[in-house]
Amino acid sequence: MSDALDSTREFLSAHAPFDQLEAEALEFLLPRLQTRFYEQGARITDPEAGPAQRFHIIRQGRIRGESPSEDEQLSGNAWELIPGECFPIGALLGRRAVHTVHRAAEDTLCLELSLEDFDRLRARSRVFNDFCTRRLANLLDRLHQGLDSLASHDAAGGGQLNTPLALRLAREPVTCRPDTPLREALTTMRDQRVGSIVAVDDQAAPVGIFTLHDLLNRVALEGVGLDTPVRAVMTPDPVALEENAPGFEGIEAMTEHGMTHLCVVRDGRLAGVLGERDLLTRQPLTLDGLVREIRQATAVDEIAARLRQVPRLVEAVITQGAEADQVLRLITRLNEHATRRVLALLRPQYDIEGIDFTWLAFGSQAREEQALITDQDNGILFDAEPGDEDAVRARLLPWAQAVNRALAECGFTLCPGNIMAGNPECCLSGPEWEARFTRWIEQGTPEHLLKSTIFFDLRAVDGDASPVEALRTFLLQKTAYNSRFRRQMAANQQAFRPPLGLFGEIRAGAEGIDVKKQGLTPFVDGARVIALAAELPATGSHERMDQAVSAEAMRPGDAADYHAALRYLQMLRLRAQQKALREGREDDSRIRPEELGALEGRVLKESFRQARKLQGQLAVQYQL
C-alpha cells in the first residue's frame, strides 16, 4: 500500500539528510524502519553492550548522551539530541561499541534500522553515505544552499561573491594603445559609453588604465593637452586578476589598492574590465569609497565616522554570499587603512623623524580575523644602536600613546591587558623583542603564557616588514625546539571548553553561548599550537591549518572539517555582533542556540564537536 507510510515519510522529509534522499533509497528505507518507544530515563545504547547494532532516528522526544569520563567528553558525544537527529553513526560505521550511554531525556519515540539495513542504505544512497561520513560539511552545504537561495532571492539577481569574475563581464573591453592620443581615447570612451579605457600592449596585456576620475584630476584640472599620449596620464600597472578568481577577490584587490576598476585577464590577455558596481550591485555604500575616504581623512573623527559605516558594508557583503573568513579579512584591511591613516595624521605633531620602525599588530588583527567589535593589540618594533634603545623609545612613546588614544576614538577599545604600542613593554627594538619572546618561551609560567599567546600572532601593519619576518623566524625556531613550551600552550588551549548539553541545561541558564570563547578560541589556539610546533609562518588560523596539512601535521579530512566549523562559527559571531550593534548592546559574541533553526542548531553542535575533536587530538599528542 503506497500511502501506508505517509506520516513517516512526511516526518523524514522535514529532516536532513532524509529530505534529500534519493526516491529509490527512501522507498528502501521506509518499510525497513521499526518504531520503538523509550520511557524517560531508559538506556538506549550502552558502551558495555558490544558493537552498536541499531541506527536510531529520533521521531519525538530528546536523547541525552551521558559521558562516563572526561575522556568520553573529548570524543564529543555528550550532547542532547532532538527529533530528526540520528545516532550512533560513528559506532555503526566503526563496528564498535558506543562511547556514550544514550538515555531518553523524556519519553521518546525512535525510528530504527538494523545494522545490515543501515549498511545497505549507505550502499544505495550517496546522500545518506555522504551524511554519515562527513556530517558537518554535509550539513553546512545544506545550510548554505538554504542561505544562498535566500540571498539570491533577496538580491534579485545581484552579484554572488563566489561566482568567478568571468561571469560578470558584460562586454568586450574598450582598449587603446599607451601611445594613443588622449583625444582619440576620450572619443572612444564617449562613443562606447564607458567610464574607463585600458591601454594594452602587443600581447593584449593591460599596461595601464585611464578613468573619467583621472580625466578630472590629471587632465582637466592640470591643464594637460588632449594630444598627450594616454601613457602620460594613465595609472600604470593596473590591478589585474585571472578571470576564474571569485568575485570576492576582486573586491579585496580593489580595496587593497584603492582602485575603482579591475582588469580581468585570461592567460595574461585582457578579457574585460569590471567596475566596483559590477561587483557590488545594489549597494549604496561602496567599499572603494570607504577606503578612499579613510585614506584621505584629515582628522581622526573623520576616520571614526567612516569606520562606523563598516557594519553596514559588511552586512551587504554577507548578503552577497561572502565566506566568513573573507569578511573578516575585509574588516581587517579596512582597519589597517584606518590605522595607517591615524599613524600618518599624528606623525607631524611628534618628533619621530629618522627612526626606523614597524607598527605591529597582534592577535586577531595579525591573524586577519578582526570582527566588527574589536580592541587594539599593537606594538612597535624599532631599530636602534645598542645602548640607544631607551632614547629612541622615549621619542616614540608619546606619539604611540597618542595613536592608541586616537584608535580608541575610532572605536578600537583600549586593550585591557595593555598590549599597546604606548606601553613601554610593547615598544621594543628587535633584540629586545627577541629577549622578551625568549623569556616567555624558556621560562614562562602557564599564566604568563596565557597572557602572551596573542603575541605569537604578529604582523607588520605599517613600515618595513622584514624585521618582523626575522623576529618570526627567530621565535618559530625557538618554539619548534621547546616541547615544554608547546605542551603548556596546548594545555592552555584546553582551557575553553565547547559547551556541553547544548540544548538542555544551558538553555535553562538563559545565558546563551559565547561563540568566541567557547567556539572560536579552541580553533584559533589549536591552529597556533600546531603552527608553532611545525614552524609554520602563517598567522591566520585558516592558513595555518592549510600549511599544517602541507607539513603533514594535520590530516586533510580533519582540516576540511575544522575549516568548515571555524568558518561557520566566525559567521555566527559576525551575525551576533551585527545584532548586538543594531540593538546597542555590549555582549557581542553571545548567541542563543534555541533561536537558531533546527538545521543550524545541528550545524552548531557539529561545529562544537569538531572543536572538541581538535582539543582531543592535541590532548593526545601532548599527553595532557
Binding site: R32, F37, E39, L109
Partner: protein
C-alpha cells in the same frame, strides 16, 4: 507451554501463571474452536487454526497487530465499516513495513456527518473493495497475532457483526485495549482521569508521542501501536509482563 486446562486438542493452552483467568479463557477457547468449525475455508479459518498465544507468555515475545476501523457511525447493527488500517508489532517494536490499509465499498451511501470526521466520501469509498475482501486482508495480517485497539469494544463489535455477515460466525479474538490499559494504570497510580482524558490523542500527548492526523484508520492504528509501546514501557520496561495481564476480556464475548 503447559497443558493445564486445555479443553479440546492443543489449540488453547493457558499457562500455569494464568490459572486465575482460566474459566474465562476456557470459554474463550471453546468459542474459538466453535468458530473455527463454522468458518469457511479461507483467511478466517487459517487465522483460527493458528493456536492463540498463552496468557503466561511475556509481552516482549508476543506478536501483535494494532487495528483501527473507521465506520459510518457508532452502532454495529446499523452502521458500516468504511476502512480498516493496521500495523504489526513484535513485542513493542513497531514494524512499519507491515502497515496496511483497506477501503471498503459500503452497501449504502456514506452519511454526511461521518464523512466530515474521517474524510471518506462516497467517491473515495467507491474505490474500495467489498467488505469480504477487507476482512480477508485483515485476518491474513492477524494470523498468529494479538489484536490491539483503542477502545476495543467498538472494533470488536463491528468485526463480530461483519464476520457474522460474511463468514457466518463470530470469532472470539484475543485483544489488548489501550484505553483500558491506560485507565487501569491511571487508577492504579491514583491519578484522576479527566473527562475525555482517555482519548487516543490526549493519551498520546501524555507520553510525548507525535501529534498525528486522527480519524484515518492506518494512522490511528499506528497511534494505538505507539501508545501500547509507551504503556508497556511505563508498566514494565523489560517486557517480561505476561500477556494475560494486558488482555482485554469483554464479558459479552468471553
Amino acid at each position: 507451554m503447559t497443558r493445564a486446562a486445555a479443553p479440546q486438542r492443543e489449540a488453547c493452552a493457558p499457562g500455569r501463571a494464568a490459572f486465575w483467568l482460566a474459566p474465562g479463557y476456557w470459554r474463550f477457547c471453546r468459542a474459538r474452536d466453535h468458530a473455527r468449525s463454522q468458518a469457511p475455508a479461507g483467511a478466517l479459518r487459517d487465522c483460527l487454526n493458528t493456536p492463540p498465544p498463552a496468557p503466561s507468555q511475556p509481552v516482549a515475545r508476543t506478536r501483535f497487530l494494532a487495528v483501527d476501523i473507521e465506520t459510518t457511525g457508532l452502532d454495529p447493527q446499523r452502521d458500516a465499516i468504511l476502512s480498516i488500517g493496521w500495523v504489526a508489532l513484535d513485542g513493542t517494536s513497531i514494524d512499519l513495513a507491515t502497515a496496511g490499509h483497506v477501503l471498503v465499498r459500503p452497501q449504502r451511501e456514506v452519511p454526511e456527518q461521518s464523512a466530515v470526521i474521517h474524510g471518506i466520501t462516497d467517491h473515495r469509498a467507491a474505490t474500495g473493495g467489498t467488505p469480504g475482501e477487507a476482512l480477508d486482508a485483515l485476518f491474513r495480517a492477524l494470523d498468529g497475532r494479538v489484536l490491539i485497539a483503542h477502545h476495543a469494544a467498538l472494533e470488536l463489535g463491528f468485526l463480530a457483526r461483519a464476520c457474522e455477515r460474511h463468514y457466518g460466525t463470530r470469532p472470539p479474538l484475543a485483544v489488548v485495549d489501550t484505553l483500558r490499559l491506560a485507565e487501569t494504570s491511571r487508577r492504579r497510580a491514583g491519578r484522576p482521569i479527566p473527562a475525555r482524558g482517555l482519548r487516543l490523542h490526549v493519551l498520546r500527548g501524555e507520553y510525548n508521542l507525535p501529534a498525528r492526523r486522527t480519524h484515518d484508520a492506518l494512522l490511528d492504528a499506528l497511534g494505538a501501536a505507539e501508545l501500547f509501546a509507551a504503556l508497556i514501557a511505563e508498566r514494565d520496561p523489560t517486557g517480561e509482563l505476561p500477556l494475560g495481564r494486558v488482555l482485554f476480556r469483554p464479558r459479552r464475548l468471553w
